[in-house]
């Protein structure tokens, strides 16, 4: 579904992603793990089109995305729930959801999809007229996921969805992601919560200093000695 080939990414003169290649298979949960500053967010932003790779290619459903501007990638069926949520904080919850369905089929089905999102997150329905900036962290994350879902994505990318949430909410978010995958959406997730992430991941890649150093099935990585000592503190 998504294939990254030999990707290099720079910020100005500084290279932060080095020759990264990986694949996301349809209907799977693929995880990208790594320490702070490893380049996980950079990778997702590049896939979303906010950054351009200086080398290598990104292919989505076999289409080369190098000439597809960021704002058209959502039409192709991919959406990013960015790091720190990035809601439109002066808009209401409902307006934020509308922003996820600006184009094409997503726009036609806005009403139905919104009902589905409200069913998934009843809290959002209660607060649909509330300004997004005044939501709690957990509610904001739900709104951000809801906004992404409004685009009817084939591939949903999550950048640290559990960031700053209490353990009970973390579990809830992971359950939601699991549900999203069960409904047929492919998931690419970046997380610091390595244990929980690997537990739901079909496939995982480990990124260190901008390079892929390891890959495997989620369960296998959970038992890997390097992963255990570096990421699980065991």
């Amino acid at each position: 579904m998504l294939e990254i080939r030999n990707m290099d990414v720079f910020y100005g003169d500084v290279q932060v992603i080095w020759d990264v290649s990986f694949q996301v298979k349809p209907r799977e949960v693929t995880a990208l793990i790594g320490t702070n500053g490893a380049g996980k967010s950079t990778t997702l932003k590049t896939i979303a089109g906010l950054l351009r790779p200086s080398n290598g290619g990104i292919f989505f459903n076999a289409e080369d995305l190098s000439t597809v501007p960021a704002f058209q990638r959502i039409d192709r069926g991919m959406v990013l729930c960015p790091e720190a949520r990035r809601l439109f904080i002066e808009m209401t919850v409902e307006e934020n959801l509308d922003m996820g369905s600006l184009r094409g089929r997503a726009k036609q089905q806005r009403r139905q999809t919104k009902d589905m999102v409200y069913e998934l997150f009843p809290r959002l329905k209660e607060r649909r007229r509330q300004i997004a900036g005044t939501l709690s962290g957990g509610e904001q994350q739900m709104a951000a996921i809801g906004r992404g879902l409004m685009s009817l994505p084939q591939l949903m990318m999550f950048d640290e969805p559990s960031l700053g949430l209490a353990p009970i909410l973390v579990r809830e978010i992971f359950e939601v992601i699991r549900k999203i995958q069960a409904d047929g959406t492919t998931v690419l997730i970046v997380e610091q919560n390595v244990k929980q992430t690997l537990a739901i991941a079909d496939r995982a890649y480990v990124l260190e200093h901008g390079r892929l150093v390891m890959q495997g099935r989620g369960q296998d990585l959970l038992n890997d000695p390097h992963v255990k000592s570096a990421y699980l503190g065991m």
């Binding site: 906010l50 704002f71 809601l87 439109f88 184009r103 005044t134």
Partner: protein, 306 residues
């Protein structure tokens, strides 16, 4: 009784002026919100619209209020052209002066003012309208009214049209997908991009829209004022004050800011002296910077928190 009458009349006049100010300020404000630049050619764009309305009136006897239908679209495309071919290229280069786009807008304003001087000379011009001095008095309608208040036709029409356009803008921004996309671009352009907003296009459209709004304001000003090529500068200043007063980029803030400024200027003119209105404008500007750095928008917000 006379005192009360003067006071009420001053408030009415301030409100009427404020409605127009809101429209002038809101154009600069949406450009500020989306592009993060202050368009210091804003008043000069208004001046261009005024001369369009003036020429349409003298050549074809088209009423200035109808000229809005011509001048606003012309200004829309003028704004788009300025943004696309002058401001955008400058936004992209790294320059020694960080705010060079703003300086560019000053340059654009100067060029427009000078072109107007070349074409129209620096004469003061007016459009003599048949209804210019038509006035309604309260006591004509309500005989036993304790105070007699008056309102002139052009002022009233100008105010009503300004309010109508401002409401239209509000509806557009609040209810339509394109309006929401413009607001989203102002709040977080990267997130907007991810959600499928063509951010570059929104910037261009916003600049056009802001110019069209002030263009409409220019036509509304014609029936109540006279024009000369350098008139733009004072309106650039006025919209700047309103934008600051409103809280840099808040539309509702700008609307309130316009009303407050209109009322304040009117009060200054009545109680301090005609020539003092600009001083009042500066006073409120400085006061806003010192005491209300977040503008009206921050007041609205803190209220919402409670």
């Amino acid at each position: 009784m006379i005192k009360l009458e003067i006071f009420l009349q001053t408030l009415i006049q301030g409100l009427l002026l404020g409605g127009l100010y809101s429209l002038i300020g809101v154009g600069m404000t949406i450009i500020m919100g989306v592009m993060k630049i202050i368009n210091l050619a804003h008043g000069e764009l208004m001046m261009v619209a005024m001369y369009i309305a003036y020429v349409l009136f003298t050549a074809f006897q088209i009423d200035p209020y109808f000229s809005i239908l011509i001048a606003a679209p012309v200004l829309f495309f003028l704004g788009i052209a300025l943004q696309k071919y002058l401001i955008n290229p400058v936004l992209r280069v790294e320059a020694i002066i960080p705010e060079n786009q703003v300086i560019l807008t000053v340059g654009i304003g100067m060029v427009l003012a000078n072109l107007a001087t070349i074409i129209f000379q620096s004469d003061y011009r007016q459009t003599p309208l048949s209804y210019a001095s038509k006035t309604w008095y309260l006591q004509d309608y309500w005989k036993s009214s304790p105070v007699d208040l008056s309102i002139t036709a052009p002022w009233l029409v100008t105010f009503l049209v300004a309010v109508l356009i401002t409401l239209g803008l509000w509806f557009f921004l609040a209810r339509t997908d394109m309006g929401k996309s413009i607001r989203a671009t102002a709040q977080d352009s990267e997130a907007a991009m991810i959600m499928g907003v063509n951010v570059d296009r929104m910037r261009v459209i916003t600049f056009g829209l802001g110019s069209a709004l002030v263009g409409a304001a220019g036509c509304l000003f014609i029936p109540i004022y006279y024009i000369y090529p350098d008139i733009g500068g004072q309106f650039t200043l006025i919209s700047f004050v309103i934008t600051i007063l409103g809280g840099l980029g808040s539309t509702v803030g700008a609307i309130l800011g316009g009303l407050v400024l209109g009322l304040f200027e009117s009060l200054t003119a009545t109680y301090v002296g005609m020539g003092w209105a600009p001083v009042g404008r500066f006073a409120i500007f400085v006061a806003a910077l010192v005491f209300l750095p977040g503008g009206m928008a921050s007041l609205l917000k803190s209220k919402r928190m409670k």
